[in-house]
């Protein structure tokens, strides 16, 4: 394997894996753009999320498109299937980019996941506390020459939160691990997110008028060093904390969401490209 290509691939893996890995739960119904949130689909209900995400860093930028289909098996169990729609950007940023969750996984992985809302307490009109677990599996769909290829990924995450007509918050954490592939193994990913949401009084119109809400989101990600042929790769792994705003607009069965996050701190091992920002737009339809 060409060492330069491998190194570029590993760098790209970290940039995008870090960018995408903390997105294991989707922003459906009332959720944030980047952080973990609880599921909302009704029993027997389908939803479609079409999303675009841009990651900008020292190595250039990458734009990815992805589709998420979700189904409410019950009101507390949601099944998700996510697959790529396309990508564009710097070759170095895209080579070997893998990993992530159901919302914005790697460009050429198919991801299946289950969300189980195991706790729900409707405390008042318009408000409830709830908690959920997330289980996910991601599978690469093809080989990309040059970069570090991940094996099958497994995700486990938990989130708890509160939703109301005026404020929202969620706290979540998760981990993603990968099987070895071609003597290479991506480092485990650990992440946590905190989200606070607010609906200003001028946005508190009643249904069926449009519904808008604002979020401040923060995500912390930490990745272990990747391993190739049993050796830890020096230019891999590290941690970063990102913070940024997002906005969610809902009207009838339609939703649109956009957000941007900037790194507050980045502590990267060895020589790796730093991330400048990540931005995301999601169009949702609930059937």
């Amino acid at each position: 394997m060409n060492p330069n290509l491998l190194n570029a691939g590993i760098n790209a893996v970290f940039v995008l894996l870090g960018a995408l890995g903390a997105l294991a739960a989707q922003a459906d119904g009332h959720g944030p753009a980047f952080g973990l949130a609880t599921p909302t689909l009704a029993r027997g209900q389908w939803s479609s999320d079409t999303m675009a995400m841009q990651v900008n860093g020292d190595m250039g930028s990458s734009l990815k498109f992805r589709q998420l289909l979700s189904y409410g098996v019950t009101e507390d169990l949601q099944a998700n299937l996510s697959f790529p729609l396309g990508q564009s950007g710097e070759e170095g940023m895209l080579t070997g980019s893998r990993g992530g969750g159901s919302m914005m996984g790697a460009a050429d992985t198919v991801e299946a996941s289950l969300q189980w809302r195991f706790h729900r307490n409707a405390s008042a009109i318009g408000s409830r506390y709830e908690s959920a677990l997330f289980f996910g599996v991601s599978k690469p769909t093809d080989d990309t020459p040059g970069g570090l290829e991940p094996g099958t990924g497994f995700t486990l995450a938990a989130v708890t939160g509160y939703a109301s007509r005026t404020t929202y918050w969620w706290l979540g954490a998760g981990a993603q691990t990968y099987a070895s592939r071609d003597n290479a193994r991506l480092g485990n990913l650990y992440y946590a997110s905190a989200v606070f949401g607010w609906r200003p009084p001028q946005f508190q119109h009643d249904y069926p008028k449009p519904d808008w809400r604002l979020f401040v989101e923060s995500v912390y990600e930490r990745i272990e060093r990747h391993r190739v042929d049993g050796q830890s790769m020096p230019d891999s792994g590290g941690g970063k904390l990102l913070v940024g705003p997002s906005v969610l607009g809902l009207y009838g069965h339609w939703g649109i969401e956009g957000g941007i996050m900037w790194p507050v701190t980045q502590s990267l091992n060895g020589s790796q490209p730093e991330e400048s920002y990540r931005a995301k737009v999601v169009f949702t339809y609930w059937f």
């Binding site: 119904g29 909302t40 689909l41 009704a42 809302r117 009109i125 318009g126 009643d206 069926p208």
Partner: protein
């Protein structure tokens, strides 16, 4: 037990006969055209537009629904029904639960019969039965109508619902 008998097609003979028998209080047959007329259902936990849209969509599929209004800010679903609707309050609350939310108190207007079993008064809409609390003095006016088969129009407050038993407070007779 569901006892729902449709009215025969209206005609002068039937109308006159029913009015005469009703005034005389001699109707012993099961309720005719009983059922829910209006429901004001409080919902806890509903916070978003798609939540309301999903509930509205589910409620509109129920039998005999003529209008549905869902309010996020009030936390309510307000429905009205045709006179021959078979929809029950339990079905309405099931739609809400299947959307992931919690039905609470409901105020209903219904037409039905009054009966008594085990010293407890109840009102049967034809699709479900609502039991009055034993110590509810307001329902004593209904005691004389128990078992007569007379059709009663009433407003009830449903504070507690279970799958097999529903406890009601009488708000008013119409």
């Amino acid at each position: 037990m569901k006892q729902s008998i449709r009215r025969p097609s209206n005609g002068p003979f039937y109308q006159n006969a029913l009015v005469t028998l009703g005034v005389a209080g001699l109707i012993a047959a099961p309720a005719c055209g009983g059922g829910l007329r209006e429901v004001d259902q409080t919902i806890f936990g509903m916070d978003c537009v798609p939540c309301a849209a999903g509930i509205e969509k589910g409620l509109k599929k129920l039998d005999g629904v003529t209008s549905v209004r869902v309010s996020l800010n009030e936390g309510k679903a307000i429905l009205s029904f045709e006179s021959d609707s078979d929809t029950s309050l339990a079905q309405i609350q099931e739609v809400i639960r299947h959307n992931g939310f919690t039905p609470k108190e409901a105020v209903i207007k219904l037409v039905g019969q009054v009966g008594r079993s085990d010293d407890q008064l109840w009102m049967d809409s034809g699709s479900e039965r609502f039991h009055f609390k034993a110590n509810d003095s307001a329902v004593q006016d209904l005691a004389g109508k128990a078992g007569t088969g007379q059709e009663i129009r009433a407003s009830l407050r449903i504070a507690e619902s279970r799958s097999d038993h529903t406890t009601a407070l009488l708000i008013s007779l119409e």
